[in-house]
C-alpha cells in the first residue's frame, strides 16, 4: 500500500469521528440528552483507566494495586503531579519487589 493512502485513510477516520460530535454547533438539546452528555466525562475516565490497566498483559496486578494509593491521594489533594508521583513510585516499587503479575 502506498504510504500516502495509509496516511489519508487515517486522517479521514480520525477527523470524521472528531468533527461528528461538533455537528450540532451548540444547539440546545432535550434535558435527558443534556444529562447523558454531562455524565460522559466520568464514564469516559473510568473506561480509560481500565484500558490503561491493560488487564491482558503481565503486571496488571501491580497496576491495580499501585492505583489505590494514587486514587486516595487524588481524592484527597486533587493534584496531578502528586497522583502521578505516588502512582509511578508505587508501580516501580511493587515491580521491583517482583510481585506476581
Amino acid at each position: 500500500m502506498n504510504p500516502v493512502v495509509l496516511i489519508v485513510t487515517l486522517v479521514m477516520t480520525a477527523y470524521s469521528t472528531r468533527i461528528a460530535g461538533f455537528a450540532f454547533r451548540g444547539r440546545t438539546m432535550p434535558p435527558r440528552v443534556e444529562r447523558f452528555l454531562k455524565n460522559v466525562p466520568i464514564a469516559a475516565f473510568a473506561a480509560l483507566i481500565i484500558i490503561g490497566m491493560d488487564v491482558e498483559s503481565s503486571g496488571a496486578d501491580v497496576r491495580f494495586i499501585a492505583a489505590i494509593p494514587a486514587a486516595l491521594v487524588a481524592w484527597r489533594w486533587k493534584k496531578l503531579w502528586l497522583t502521578l508521583g505516588v502512582g509511578m513510585a508505587g508501580y516501580w516499587i511493587l515491580g521491583a519487589l517482583g510481585l506476581p503479575g
Partner: protein
C-alpha cells in the same frame, strides 16, 4: 488556583497542566516511530502521520496492520472503530464551549484527544475560556508528540529496544486524578463502575473500539436514568 480571563494566560495554563504527560508521550511516540521504521515506513511518512493524524492508538494499530500487509479497508475500519469514542467527546464538549470558539470548532476538532478532553472536562467549572485551555493542553501534547516521532523516525536505526520503564502507566494515572474528586456520591460511583465493568467485559464479544464507545455511553446512560428516577 485562580483562573484568568485572558486567552493566552488560560492557554498557557493548559500547556503547563499537560506538561507531566510528556513523560509518557516521549517514549510512546519514539517507540511508535521505531515500529513504523520496522514496518518499512520512511521517516518523512512517519512524521507526516503524526502531524496530520495526531491519534496515537490509531497510528499504532495502523502501523501494526500495515506491517502485516493489511489492506486499506481493514486499516480504515480498525482505526475508525478505535476513534469512535471521539464522537462522544465532541458531543459532550460542544455544549460547554462558547458559541464561537477561538479557533473555530473544526480546528478544535482536529485537536480532540483523550487528554485534552479529560483535562478540560475535569476543570470546566474553574476555567473562563475552555477553548483556550483545551488548545493549550492539546498543543502541550501535540508538539512533543510530533517532535519525538521525528526523533524515533530519524534515529530508528540507532535506538535500541526501548525500555519504557512502564511510563505509559502515566495515562491511566492522569485519568485517576481526574475521576477521584468526581466520585462524591453513589450515583457517580455507579456510573464509573458500569463503564469500567463494560469495558472489561464487552471486548470479549465485540470489537474493542466499539466496546469502549458502548462502555462510555452505557455509563453516561446510567447517569441519565438515575437522575431521571428522582
Amino acid at each position: 488556583m485562580e483562573s484568568t480571563s485572558g486567552y493566552r494566560a488560560v492557554l498557557r495554563e493548559g500547556v503547563v497542566d499537560a506538561a507531566p504527560l510528556m513523560l509518557a508521550i516521549a517514549p510512546f511516540a519514539t517507540a511508535m516511530a521505531v515500529a513504523a521504521h520496522s514496518a518499512g515506513l520512511r521517516a518523512v511518512e512517519t512524521v507526516a502521520m503524526s502531524i496530520f493524524v495526531f491519534a496515537g492508538a490509531a497510528q499504532m494499530a495502523a502501523i501494526s496492520l500495515y506491517a502485516g500487509g493489511a489492506g486499506v479497508v481493514a486499516i480504515g475500519l480498525t482505526t475508525l472503530l478505535i476513534n469512535l469514542r471521539h464522537i462522544i467527546y465532541g458531543l459532550s464538549l460542544d455544549r460547554v464551549l462558547p458559541k464561537r470558539t477561538q479557533p473555530s470548532r473544526p480546528v478544535l476538532a482536529f485537536l480532540l484527544i483523550d487528554e485534552a478532553f479529560g483535562f478540560t472536562a475535569s476543570r470546566i467549572h474553574r476555567i473562563q475560556r475552555p477553548d483556550a485551555y483545551f488548545v493549550g493542553v492539546a498543543l502541550g501534547i501535540y508538539i512533543p508528540f510530533v517532535l519525538f516521532t521525528a526523533v524515533g523516525a530519524g534515529f530508528a536505526a540507532a535506538i535500541p529496544d526501548i525500555e519504557r520503564f512502564g511510563l505509559e502507566y502515566i495515562f491511566p494515572l492522569a485519568f485517576i486524578s481526574f475521576i477521584a474528586p468526581m466520585l462524591i456520591n453513589v450515583q457517580r460511583v455507579a456510573i464509573a463502575l458500569v463503564s469500567g465493568g463494560l469495558v472489561l467485559l464487552l471486548p470479549r464479544f465485540i470489537d474493542s473500539g466499539l466496546a469502549i464507545l458502548l462502555a462510555m455511553a452505557g455509563g453516561a446512560l446510567v447517569g441519565m436514568l438515575w437522575e431521571d428516577d428522582q
